[in-house]
């Protein structure tokens, strides 16, 4: 399942060719609205980075749902007799891989554009992975909840953004602490991110079978 979604992405390159430029563009636009010469950009860079990631994730998740909606692929999946939970994990894994690739490019862009010194790298990596699992799980569950709706493109952001508010908060704070050289303060936030990711991964795993059948 994961490999299939990634193969589709490799062939179509929608995420890399459209979502990634969108993300970088958002980072540049932030600099327009905030005075780029003052010290404000490096200070609020973690927040700007994670808002950009969250907005880009919504697009990536939308793409992940659209892949299933085309050509009745969802019915084919249901016929395949695969366990709903396994399908869910596969889809989340594919979204996580794509988002991590996206984040890698975006974080490099953030560091360069906002001139930031990299510190606490291991905290950054673990925080990013935990946060991404949380975003991908909630996004995938809500994606299938809203799938089939004509208003899906506008509904998914309304559903995902508030539920991911703790992720945005935790990831931003973890990044801030790590970049300021206070990695110790980042760990509680990283634990929060990990707990969030684990919780919604479990919820999605349980719920997805029911959703594929009935919704």
């Amino acid at each position: 399942m994961c490999a299939k979604d990634l193969r589709i992405e490799l062939r179509a390159r929608v995420v890399m060719a459209q979502v990634l430029p969108f993300g970088v563009l958002v980072l540049i636009l932030f600099a327009f609205t905030l005075d780029p010469n003052s010290a404000i950009l490096p200070r609020i860079a973690p927040g700007l980075f994670w808002i950009t990631v969250l907005l880009s994730s919504i697009l990536a998740v939308g793409r992940s749902i659209a892949v299933e909606a085309e050509h009745g692929a969802r019915d084919a999946l249901r016929l395949s007799g695969m366990d709903g939970g396994a399908i869910f994990l596969g889809k989340v894994a594919a979204v996580v891989v794509q988002l991590l690739a996206l984040e890698l490019v975006l974080i490099v862009a953030t560091f360069m554009l906002y001139s930031i010194d990299v510190r606490g790298l291991e905290v950054l990596v673990i925080a990013a992975i935990s946060a991404t699992i949380g975003i991908a799980s909630t996004g995938t569950v809500y994606g299938v909840l809203a799938s089939g709706a004509k208003v899906r493109e506008t509904l998914v952001p309304l559903l995902v953004l508030p539920i991911c508010a703790p992720v945005l908060l935790g990831a931003t704070k973890a990044f801030e602490s790590a970049l300021a050289g206070r990695s110790g303060e980042a760990w509680p936030w990283v634990q929060l991110l990990g707990a969030f990711g684990a919780l919604y991964l479990t919820v999605g795993f349980i719920a997805y079978g029911t959703l594929m059948e009935e919704a």
Binding site: A146, P166, A195, L199
Partner: protein, 255 residues
């Protein structure tokens, strides 16, 4: 719509007009007590009177979302699966959003004279704002169409997902809020001490009558949701019956 259908809607509600009447009487009495009879607060003067709406709204918002979560869980358990739980979840969710909005609006109106600002980035306020949007999304999801069973399953799962997010949001936001601002807005002067007997009575009256109002509105809304469900079908059936000059064959709706 024909006479038969509207007549049926009335018979469904006929059983409990007293509940609605008591609720309205209680809320009216609360207004009189809260605005006229209850004395001014020494610190906050008249501004504190918003409390009589704010406290019930806050309590009912949390009650309503809890009811939505319980009803959602009951729908998902195969043994108790019945569309009435979906109607209850939907009705309560709508009321929860209404009371949350009321709580935010009222709190904001109170914040301006007492804090000197409409909004403070304080933990409870921020959590409540996120809560409002969580359930606005839930309500939007309920309206995307599909069969009643599809909607019920989807909304039940969404209702539970939103509900378990509430403590996480609250926890993370309070952590965040305590990090960077300590008592810039809050101090002991802001603490309201309701010691006066009339004040206490008014507050109790407010909570009780708004709760009755919630129960009554929730029941009415459930009935409406149930009636709404088969509306198109029943109208079609009625039209067919009228054409063939037969007596109506549709069944009355029960919740």
């Amino acid at each position: 719509m024909s006479k038969q259908a509207s007549g049926r809607a009335q018979t469904v509600n006929a059983g409990r007009p007293w509940l609605g009447l008591t609720a309205f009487a209680g809320v009216s009495a609360t207004f009189v007590m809260g605005l006229v009879v209850a004395p001014k607060d020494e610190q906050q003067r008249d501004a504190y009177r918003l409390l009589y709406m704010h406290v019930p709204a806050a309590w009912l918002a949390y009650l309503a979302f809890t009811v939505t979560a319980i009803a959602s869980a009951l729908y998902l358990v195969p043994r108790t699966r019945h569309l009435r739980w979906d109607y209850l979840a939907g009705a309560s969710g709508e009321l929860g959003v209404m009371f949350t909005a009321l709580m935010l609006a009222g709190g904001s109106l109170w914040g301006k004279p007492v804090w000197g600002q409409w909004w403070a980035w304080e933990a409870r306020l921020t959590t409540t704002a996120i809560l409002l949007f969580l359930y606005l999304g839930y309500l939007a999801l309920r309206r995307i169409g599909g069969s009643p069973q599809q909607r019920a399953t989807r909304s039940a799962i969404a209702g539970l997902i939103a509900f378990i997010d509430v403590p996480i949001v609250h926890f993370s936001v309070s952590w965040w809020a305590t990090l960077h601002q300590e008592g810039s807005v809050f101090n002991d002067k802001m603490q309201l001490h309701i010691r006066d007997g009339v004040m206490q009575f008014t507050l109790l009256l407010a909570v009780a009558s708004f709760t009755l109002l919630y129960v009554w509105m929730c029941m009415r809304r459930m009935e409406l949701l149930a009636l709404d469900e088969g509306l198109a079908e029943r109208e079609l059936q009625l039209a067919i019956d009228e054409r063939s000059n037969r007596p109506a064959t549709t069944n009355p709706v029960t919740v």
